[in-house]
């Protein structure tokens, strides 16, 4: 039973989480505490994973970076490094999938202990969970970053082109991870026994979706590779892109928060 495996600290954390999300009338249950605890651990592991990914990209770039005037031309490029980088990306996607799977397993285990199971007759779709504004933001962020990376490929300097290639592969990895995580957030089964736990399930999904679509990895990736090789205009364009994305994200967060307050629903996205 979940009661035995839930620590008082986890229960207290669940109570705080409910208070933060304006669900003060909902009692923290072992079900909620267990689900939140596994998410917290998975989120921490995912953050470490992303940090490791950025370090790996930087290492691959540094060790395989072409040097000197002889660096021009495809022969001087260390193709193996791109293969290594692709393997690192695949490893990131796999590790993230395993983390998501672990969360699903715990959800399934605690769900199996419930004598009653509740579900929505109409499942909340991506518009409800993620919201159109955040979905558009996520797509625009990846599109903008890809465009800039492709823009860096047009630079004549071979070192810059190599760095741009590293950035492109990294961005593709980040995009795949985001899609995998979003799919998990949108499709994993509801674990609820009543109206209150059904509401907390939706709030948890919304929070997970927001976490997934915050482009922290996208913003960090150029630091690991391209910034010291690309021309000044590119660096300026990237800084402008990050600033605009950050402002957009802040505006969306404030707007959705106000909209939620107007509707009297916790974390309602649109």
């Amino acid at each position: 039973m979940t009661d035995q495996s839930v620590s008082p600290a986890e229960l207290k954390g669940a109570g705080e989480w409910l208070a933060v999300h304006g669900l003060t009338d909902v009692q923290p249950t072992p079900l909620l505490a267990t689900r939140l605890a596994v998410r917290q651990r998975a989120r921490l592991a995912a953050a470490v994973l992303l940090a490791a990914f950025i370090i790996a990209v930087a290492l691959v770039y540094t060790f395989a970076r072409p040097h000197g005037p002889a660096a021009d031309g495809s022969g001087s490029y260390r193709h193996w490094s791109l293969l290594v980088l692709t393997a690192v990306v695949a490893g990131l996607v796999l590790a993230q999938s395993l983390l998501d799977r672990r969360v699903r397993q715990v959800d399934r285990r605690v769900g199996a202990t419930l004598p009653r199971r509740a579900a929505h007759p109409v499942r909340p779709g991506w518009r409800t969970v993620l919201g159109r504004a955040r979905a558009a933001f996520a797509v625009a962020t990846f599109a903008g970053a890809m465009l800039l990376a492709i823009g860096a490929l047009t630079v004549l300097d071979s070192t810059a082109r190599y760095a741009a290639l590293v950035l492109l592969i990294g961005l593709c990895g980040a995009a795949v991870v985001t899609v995998v995580q979003l799919r998990h957030v949108l499709t994993h089964p509801v674990v609820a026994e009543d109206e209150a736990s059904l509401t907390t399930d939706v709030v948890m999904r919304v929070e997970d979706a927001r976490e997934v679509t915050t482009p922290s990895l996208v913003w960090c990736l150029p630091v690991a590779s391209v910034l010291d090789t690309v021309p000044g205009w590119w660096v300026f364009a990237w800084c402008l892109f990050v600033a605009l994305s950050a402002v957009s994200l802040a505006l969306i967060t404030v707007w959705t928060g106000l909209a939620a307050r107007r509707r009297g629903t916790p974390l309602a996205p649109r």
Partner: protein, 139 residues
């Protein structure tokens, strides 16, 4: 919200069917609403896929939902026709009741028994043997 209580004596497929039917009939689920896929609802409610499939099939037979191939199952516009069918059946039932001389309270009890059992109720033996001309076989 749909709730399946594993401790209930009512089978899970019937709990699901009844709750969806009620929500469709009281317009909580509007005409054209897309229902979750069988597989997904089964995962959400921790039920077997066949259990949810059976509930959906019965709702389909009752005209409350329709399945449009891979697009999924939707609340049917013929839900109103379903109500009309129920009204017609009730009128026919009332005629039978009047014809065989059963009083209203007893007629309502028969309907309640039928609804509780989820199938056509077997009328009380007193009815079947004493009031019906053919010994109750068609009741």
């Amino acid at each position: 919200m749909i709730v399946i209580d594993s401790a209930s004596p009512v089978p899970p497929f019937e709990q699901l069917r009844a709750q969806l039917a009620r929500q469709i009939q009281d317009n909580t689920l509007a005409v054209g609403t897309k229902l979750p896929t069988i597989r997904r609802l089964a995962a959400d409610l921790n039920l077997a896929v066949n259990t949810v499939g059976r509930a959906y099939r019965q709702l389909e037979e009752a005209g409350l939902i329709e399945t449009r191939g891979p697009a999924g199952s939707f609340v049917s516009a013929s839900g109103e026709q379903g109500r009309e069918r129920a009204r017609r059946a009730a009128a026919e039932y009332a005629e039978v009741i009047a014809g065989v001389g059963i009083d209203t309270d007893e007629a309502i009890r028969i309907v309640q028994a039928a609804l509780t059992n989820g199938t056509a109720a077997t009328p009380p033996s007193r009815l079947a043997t004493s009031h019906l001309p053919d010994g109750g076989r068609d009741a």
